[in-house]
């Protein structure tokens, strides 16, 4: 995501842009101003938007300043998915721990994830959704943590692989399709290799099922997110048409 790719922040009718800091839609141009059409002007306005300026402060400034609307909304799902992973992992770590090293790795990974998630959650509560790259890196960290836990527990035989599902749910609804595919392929690839290296051939069907279900979750989530995006665009279009119709008929009504 670069600054030049911010067309997705503009509403389907091109008249509004998403202010990630204020969490509101702001007009790209006055309804009857001289700066129409919006295709060029929004980019200039966005580059100087409060969202872009605010992103130059804090941790976000190290990784860019692009905040995507869809990602901002999906981020809450990601954050809650991660809290579920952290809470469950923490409780289960103390339930019949196998050995000290495993427990140490588990707790270190979970605590690190908790700090990162706390930062992201605080940002959301303050109305400052984290910039895209921070969210992408955090999701990568989720995958790394789950993979580390799977590895220290023996690979295929580890029951914690199911946390990949929670991570992929958040990714599938929050990220664009291309990135969802990339992240899911990463999860399937890494977990597939880990399983193949640690399982016997009799277990391959079970591995296949697990990988297919991870991919299915990603497809379902992303399909729904895309459907909703289309519905929203259509709702805005229909609503705008009705409003335009009302505006056009108002003068005639007044004359009458």
């Amino acid at each position: 995501m670069t600054v030049d790719n911010r067309q997705h922040l503009v509403s389907p009718d091109g008249k509004w842009y998403w202010d990630g800091v204020a969490q509101t839609w702001a007009p790209v141009a006055p309804p009857h101003g001289d700066v129409w059409p919006p295709n060029e002007e929004p980019k200039q306005r966005q580059s100087a938007s409060p969202a872009a300026r605010a992103a130059t402060r804090g941790l976000s400034s190290f990784v860019g300043n692009v905040r995507s609307e869809d990602l901002a909304f999906g981020q809450t799902v990601l954050v809650w998915a991660r809290w579920i992973l952290i809470g469950t992992g923490l409780v289960l770590s103390f339930w019949t721990p196998s050995d000290l090293l495993t427990l140490q790795v588990q707790l270190a990974a979970i605590v690190a994830l908790a700090f990162g998630n706390f930062y992201l959650h605080v940002q959301l509560l303050r109305g400052h959704a984290a910039v895209d790259k921070v969210v992408y890196l955090a999701s990568l960290a989720d995958i790394c943590v789950v993979t580390a836990l799977v590895l220290v527990q023996g690979g295929y035989s580890s029951p914690v692989f199911i946390f990949y599902f929670a991570a992929v749910v958040g990714i599938s609804v929050a990220f664009p399709s291309a990135l969802t595919v990339a992240y899911t392929a990463l999860v399937v690839g890494i977990y597939g290799v880990v399983c193949l290296a640690t399982a016997i051939p009799d277990d391959y069907p079970a591995i296949f099922t697990r990988l297919l279900m991870i991919a299915a979750i990603a497809v379902c989530g992303n399909l729904f997110a895309r459907n909703e995006s289309h519905r929203r665009a259509e709702a805005i279009r229909i609503h705008q048409e009705v409003l335009d119709e009302a505006e056009q008929s108002s003068p005639s009504l007044q004359k009458a």
Partner: protein, 214 residues
């Protein structure tokens, strides 16, 4: 302003949710069917094994052909039928967990089939229905594990694994429905902002879209 017409009612918004969401449920079910049939063909070691296991997935496939066909023809089924079909999914998956030759209950690796089914359902229905469905899935799996004698109530490793799986099933339902409610709220806000910024009065679309969002 007199000709600002009502765009959608609450009931229509609910129907739209089922219509658009139905495709997610259909694809989730196709993934379960694909996994199941591939596994049955892959792991079968005898004719009797194959004939015992394939009917589960053929039943699901027949149901999904009917539902997908109706959807493609532009006459999707109502929420009651979609709900019943989703409950049948749970029944069949639980039957697989209980009856699968060779591995039952907690040892059966087909429990992952619950995840896409619960997640897809949560993306379509309101919170109360989704919660009931998720609890039903969790209950069905827990009962299946206990009935098959693969889990003992001794708070040992098996109980830990079962609890972990139940938590993830619950997480699928919660996260899916949480996102569903966010999207419904966004849809309402998009229209709300559109009319407010234009300086025109709100049309009935806002209360309609909020409808039964939670």
């Amino acid at each position: 302003m007199s000709n600002v017409r009502e765009i959608r009612t609450s009931a229509q918004a609910d129907q739209e949710d089922v219509f658009f969401g139905q495709t997610v449920i259909l694809w989730a079910r196709w993934s379960v069917i694909a996994a199941g049939i591939a596994l049955v063909l892959w792991t079968s070691t005898s004719i009797s094994h194959l004939t015992q296991t394939i009917p589960f997935f053929l039943a699901l496939m027949a149901m999904n052909f009917f539902l997908h066909g109706r959807y493609v023809m532009g006459s999707p089924l109502n929420r009651a039928v979609v709900t019943v079909a989703s409950v049948i999914d749970l029944v069949l998956i639980t039957a697989i967990v209980v009856l699968w030759p060779g591995s039952h209950g907690l040892n059966n690796q087909f429990f992952v089939l619950y995840f896409p089914v619960v997640f897809a359902f949560a993306l379509v229905f309101t919170r109360r229905i989704e919660a009931a469905y998720t609890v039903m899935a969790m209950g069905a799996y827990a009962i299946a594990c206990f009935l098959t004698g693969t889990v003992a109530l001794d708070l040992g490793y098996d109980d830990k694994v079962l609890v972990m799986r139940l938590i993830v099933i619950a997480a699928m339902g919660f996260l899916g429905n949480y996102y569903f409610r966010i999207q419904r709220d966004r849809l309402a806000r998009a229209s709300e902002d559109s009319s407010a910024k234009s300086g025109l009065a709100r049309t009935p679309i806002q209360p309609a879209l909020r409808g039964s969002g939670s």
